[in-house]
Symmetry: C2
Subunit: 428 residues, 2 copies
Amino acid sequence: MAVQTPEKSTGASVSLGPAAALSCRECGERFPLGPIFACEACFGPLEIAYNLPTGDPEGLRKQIEAGPKNIWRYAPLLPVPADVASKPSTNPGYTQLVKADRLARELGVTGSLHIKDDSGNPTHSFKDRVVAIAVEAARAFGFTTLSCSSTGNLAGAVGAAAARAGFRSCVFIPHDLEQGKVVMAAVYGGELVGIEGNYDDVNRFCSELIGDPLGEGWGFVNVNLRPYYGEGSKTLAYEICEQLGWELPDQLVIPIASGSQLTKIDKGLKELIALGLVEDKPYRIFGAQAAGCSPVSRAFQEGHDVVRPVKPDTIAKSLAIGNPADGPYVLDIARRTGGAVDDVDDAQIVDAIKLLARTEGIFAETAGGVTVGVTRKLIEKGLLDPSLTTVVLNTGDGLKTLDAVAPTTGPTATIRPSLDAFRDAGLG
Amino acid sequence: MAVQTPEKSTGASVSLGPAAALSCRECGERFPLGPIFACEACFGPLEIAYNLPTGDPEGLRKQIEAGPKNIWRYAPLLPVPADVASKPSTNPGYTQLVKADRLARELGVTGSLHIKDDSGNPTHSFKDRVVAIAVEAARAFGFTTLSCSSTGNLAGAVGAAAARAGFRSCVFIPHDLEQGKVVMAAVYGGELVGIEGNYDDVNRFCSELIGDPLGEGWGFVNVNLRPYYGEGSKTLAYEICEQLGWELPDQLVIPIASGSQLTKIDKGLKELIALGLVEDKPYRIFGAQAAGCSPVSRAFQEGHDVVRPVKPDTIAKSLAIGNPADGPYVLDIARRTGGAVDDVDDAQIVDAIKLLARTEGIFAETAGGVTVGVTRKLIEKGLLDPSLTTVVLNTGDGLKTLDAVAPTTGPTATIRPSLDAFRDAGLG
């Protein structure tokens, strides 16, 4: 396997559009663009610092609107080369923002309620967004193998993106995932390795591997490419605002796994304000967890700044990160914007999946049950204002978490093909 | 349950955009728009006759391009009201046309090869297109219950569309479908009835039901709303040409279940030519079946005009229609355009699913394995010209037919979370 080492291609030669440098979220120290993820000074997480195209919001808006119907329409705001749309990619994004009037009625929402439905992405989860950005970084740094630790959705997204773009892939998952996610991760022909342990064990293993010669030259999308990867979630903020007619929503309900997505959506909204693409006004960000893995929710309820790790036990496996890296940032954003973090149990998750399906024809994965369920709970608690514009994220697809609803979801009846049988079954 | 009878709302009052009347495909007899599907004179199938907007192709093209990013951009060419885009709908369509360079290399295609990937639709199959049109007809005719016979994909599409649009639904499926399709059909909260028999038995039962008082006032999307429903497949033709820069492809490979989709794609291409939206040039249409249900392929190979029904036995359940209603029309189109009809067996279907996944990151359902497998076979036989522009349809999603690939698709290895275990497994 001929791969370049990361060192070979870092530094000034890398051109990733408006991305100027990496900067530490804690101490502000800056580093040249490269496959690194932790500050050398303080070990804080690195994120992208940009030279964004300020000064002509109308021109920028027109440029975006004339772009492709996928995340590359926002290339001027992402760490990707200007010609990104011409490269082989799964081309995720620009998924539907569904005006959920029937769900609104059931929840007592009198304002407008919208579901941002990311099940419409190529592998049916929001992970296609972050992976597509990581692939561009991997190309820029000369990697030829893509890797990740995953609770399932990411594995499928990396497998598909690697296949399309011509990378080798090797992904790591907990050994006990849902069948749909395992098959989907494996079908793209890359290496798929089951790890005896939970996601946090898988993650720790990948951190070891990246420091070992065995992992040399590998692009781990959510480790050494994480600063790039994370930026993909900003596109959710961009799309929501564009689809609302270039307006900020009043309230957003976002699931929390590592917490990265929530923090990047906040970052994306702030960028749109700074660029003059939307009018500045307050918005509130709410975080949603499963009760069986709710360390951030617990810290929020208890008024703590520190997130105490837990051992996950929930059907919402895509959110089952017991030690969420961005937990403290999530707490800060929820508090700063006047939002909250809350959680629902497994039965409430299943109920919410069915509620969303029955009212809007959207079959969400368990993470979507978490956000819809938490939305209901926040309204009941008086924390979410039902008279305002609210956007609830569905980040994945019910077909990948069939086990959650299968025991209570099936045919009303099974009959012989005759009118008599139909009548006898009380169906007429 | 308060439903209007179909009779109440047929006739001159119905306004479905450019749809002018129903006309018999066999004898040409015309009827007012209504929920009927067979000619009273000769029992031939009815289809929509249009007043299409001729005379200003450039204006029409601009109108389409300024429309929503879904099938409603083609509302001027469909039997739907002009304000259709503002009504609650799953809003399917405008799915990706993927330039499949890596697959092309594997198949020895030197021209351009594209996959029209309809797994990107709301319920992940092309059925969302046809159902969305049927919903508009059901609204126009005052139906409040949507129904269908289905091999699975349609059941999910009807369930979702009914939920979104606020219809009651009652759908009928063979009792032995894949779990994913059953759960997806049931989760939207409508009635789901398993029928002890195969799809042809389910279909016969629905025909009985529609003639019985029990089924009065029901809109069966693929029976009494079939003339409207079928038109949804035209949007595949429109999108393919628009995505190719308003050009006809040279060759299309289309799966055959009832054969309706193939005939409507041909109809759509002819309309684009007649309207001056694409330059007139020859195109060839190829039909693809599974060997275990290949009545049209057999008739084509044997030079017959008549399609002899078969009892299906194939993993491609969404194509398992043993008595395809539009078989003779498919034979005619394949012969007239210089195409062909061919079939591949179950092992070839699985191989083709994996080939497409490995090269393009697209996880197709078995029907997509059929079209990709048949494409390979047609090239080997010299029937499909590898130097031309070819579009292959993937009409559904691999997550719904996991059983097809699951036995041969899984983790490369399962290990403890340690570098030693990784090394010992030969993965480093």
